[in-house]
Symmetry: C2
Subunit: 322 residues, 2 copies
């Protein structure tokens, strides 16, 4: 894995940084002490590791003590950083083509949109060439201002998928969340090519939609709602929360707003409600569905519950760039 | 309980505040939605509740969105607030005198120091009068700059106890932590008068000292230390952490520094170490002793482990006002 030690060392020297904060996402945190050591072998700087949970570039853990923040594992959300941040994206060098080739067997359409996460974003042109050599027509879309690279999707933003008119999508990457997101955001079939496991599959939105509608149905009995606002830099949807609370109160419900950095079941125990509404990271409501004792709704689901939105109008919660 | 709604309403009006953030400690968080409602019945302001854990006035959860922060349940740490904060101390109205009277049976010295937490600080003069009418000589000490009231002790600061020369102390309040803190900080006998339970006892430092020395002994086998720095406003002891890491490395140990807002076992799983050193809230190492998979040392204990401090020189970790 390339942690770009030389680039960091050069930046420290160039900025005469005295204290450096390194922020890793959960999957990479265990590399922190080793990376700190490698930096210190090359340059004399005090290195701090951020110990706070981190799941995206929306979360920038600045520190009044540190001259420079190095954020690993995510692409910058353009314009979000209020202070100087160096992004080390830690691209993957795994060969994606064998798995993409396997995925050809699952592709049924003619016009294919290619999407991925930042780990493989530098491989998209070779993926396109491979698909085109198999006779397919390929598109790679540009996202809105929240997305740095063409073809890149975030757990909270599928604008690069929506930007193109295709029959189906090929998602290159591991996990199922992003592929499900593309499927829900576009209503199209999504083929997953996981190059790490060399596994291909088709995103199955049916299970997740059943879960979501069951949750919406359960929340129909709720009278008191707790609306959450995330305080991480790129998650602060205060005005959305205000709007939701207002809509609830207009319709005779009870609702109050809680600001929170890390949404977890144990912090919410203190806030009694028959349902929660999450305006922080959109993944929380979906990924952590089993963790909360009361339904954790997305803003759109909440509007279904209080009768402000038609039940058939399901849409994924996304954070778009205004 | 007096949440001082009228004072808050007046402050909102006076400051023409548009958005108000309310921050309650864990024990009072459940009152948040009700307090918000009472404020909104009196004045038109958007009320946000802080959902983040809070254990002291060291933790001020400002919010870029809020014009004003109201912090409940703790006395201000003088000079700490970087922005406008209104402190609502939520004093207790429980009658402390019956329990103080019971405590007379446990007091063996002639000169008694009276200490308490902010909940009962307005009762100290009546406590003093009661003890004096029983023929005792009483002192109430002034703490250092971290402590707002005479006789007040914090979980991280016992300067008001150390400031007086007495035979023993009477601690008025619930729980055992503060009383143990006074006993460890002064080496004197401490009688606890818990007015809520109407229970009296003598602080037993023996068990806690056994636990701490067992932990120190266990940590003697450690080679790699993870030194924690708390990022809450009043817990940031960066320079202490730097000093500890330096001392460790000088003596041939491995050590690295992690900045963290909320020290919890699950966030530390990502940081492998044979022992942790906590420079954040001093209570973490003591109260949460059973939660961590490796010894969680105080800075002083760490210096014992690496041979920089004599094993007989045990002292409580405190955050004093520089």
């Amino acid at each position: 894995m390339d942690f770009e030690i030389e680039r960091i060392v050069a930046l420290v020297r160039e900025n005469q940084a005295r204290v450096l904060q390194l922020q890793f996402p959960e999957g990479l945190k265990r590399y922190g002490p080793g990376v700190a050591k490698r930096i210190n072998e090359r340059v004399n700087v005090t290195v701090l590791l951020s110990g706070n949970p981190c799941y995206g570039a929306c979360d920038l853990d600045y520190n009044s003590e540190a001259d420079l923040l190095v954020h690993f594992g995510h692409a910058e959300i353009p314009g979000l950083a209020a202070r100087r941040v160096c992004f080390v994206e830690v691209r993957s060098e795994v060969d994606v083509i064998p798995t993409v080739n396997d995925a050809l067997a699952l592709i049924t359409g003619q016009r294919v949109g290619i999407v991925t996460n930042v780990q493989h974003v530098h491989k998209l042109d070779s993926v396109r060439r491979h698909l085109e050599s198999a006779g397919l027509q390929c598109s790679i879309g540009s996202g809105d201002g929240r997305v740095k690279y063409r073809g890149q999707v975030l757990g909270c933003n599928y604008s690069s998928a929506r930007a193109i008119d295709v029959d189906e999508y090929l998602y290159v990457g591991s996990g199922t969340f992003h592929a499900l997101g593309v499927a829900l955001a576009t209503g199209k079939r999504v083929i997953i090519a996981d190059p790490f496991l060399r596994k291909t599959s088709v995103a199955d939105v049916e299970l997740i939609m059943k879960q979501r509608y069951a949750l919406v149905a359960k929340a129909m009995d709720a009278h008191t709602f707790c609306v959450l606002v995330g305080t991480k830099a790129g998650q602060q949807r205060f005005h959305l929360a205000y709007k939701l609370v207002e809509e609830a109160i207009e319709r005779g419900y009870d609702a109050y707003t809680v600001t929170i950095n890390e949404v977890s079941p144990w912090t919410l125990y203190q806030f009694p409600a028959e349902a929660y509404v999450n305006t922080a990271c959109p993944r929380i409501a979906i990924d952590d569905i089993t963790l909360f004792k009361a339904p954790m709704l997305t803003p759109i689901e909440f509007e279904m519950v209080i009768g402000r939105r038609d039940l058939s109008g399901y849409a994924l919660d996304e954070i778009s760039c205004d």
